[in-house]
Amino acid sequence: MPVDYIPRTRELYRAFKPYQWVMNETAPPWTPLKKPLAQSRVAMMSSGGVLYRDQTRFHREDTSYRLIPKSAVREDLSVWHFGYPTKDAEADPNCVFPLEALRDFEREGVIGELCDSAFTFMGGIYSSRRVRDELAPRIVEELKDRRVEAFYLVPA
């Protein structure tokens, strides 16, 4: 049975004003794939707080993001996030940042091309307005610059 995380969040943070979840009641926007995935350029983004080498770590309410080279290996990656137990992600970032699998799928032709960078941020941002108005437009620009055709998001 799926866990209901909205009531659990309310309970866990009961000392605070109830969180205003994003509720989208209208049909979501729809962009069909233009080509089969095997011919498409794919990018991945994780909100798991993954960092490359000496990149500056995230802080609370941080709407900045990091670019992770697609060639990054585990030794290059670490994790900073206050909102979920990061022990497993630190041991193997692929739990929330599946770069190794995506590289395999590029090599095997399942996807046409993996974007030169993956994207990470730290999802513990209280204001969904700031995510929408500050973080999302900058990511959209990055994706357009790189002519990304399919975007795989992994919220952690």
């Binding site: 995380y5 309970e11 137990p85 041991a91 193997d92 692929n94 929330v96 699998a101 799928f105």
Partner: protein, 108 residues
């Protein structure tokens, strides 16, 4: 890619793939590349198979067939215990940056 069905239903993204794992493992268990590959492959397939905006594909993976107690405790009181205090975080951060700037790498 989601492990939080109720949050994803509320956000209502164009396409989603659900795996019923504890938070922090949306693309699999640590050091289990076969499972990670399988989950990510299923997620990629959904780019081509989802045709109705808002559809959520539920994947069949089970975290532990013999023990479902995590479903009772995930994201409840005590969930974030064991997180390092801020001073330790800052010390860890300084050490991490020093190692990389010296070219020593993570495990040095």
């Amino acid at each position: 890619m989601t492990s939080a069905m109720d949050i994803t239903r509320a956000v209502n993204p164009p396409r989603a793939v659900f795996v019923n794992f504890p938070l922090g493992h949306q693309t699999g268990k640590p050091n289990d590349p076969a499972l990670q590959r399988s989950i990510v492959r299923d997620a990629l397939r959904a780019f081509e198979t989802i045709s109705r905006p808002g559809e959520i594909v539920e994947l069949p993976y089970v975290w532990d067939a013999n023990d479902r107690r995590w479903e009772e405790t995930d994201y409840t009181d005590g969930f974030l215990q064991g997180r390092p205090p801020q001073e330790d975080t800052d010390r860890f951060e300084a050490e991490r940056r020093r190692r990389y700037s010296n070219g020593e790498g993570k495990s040095a």
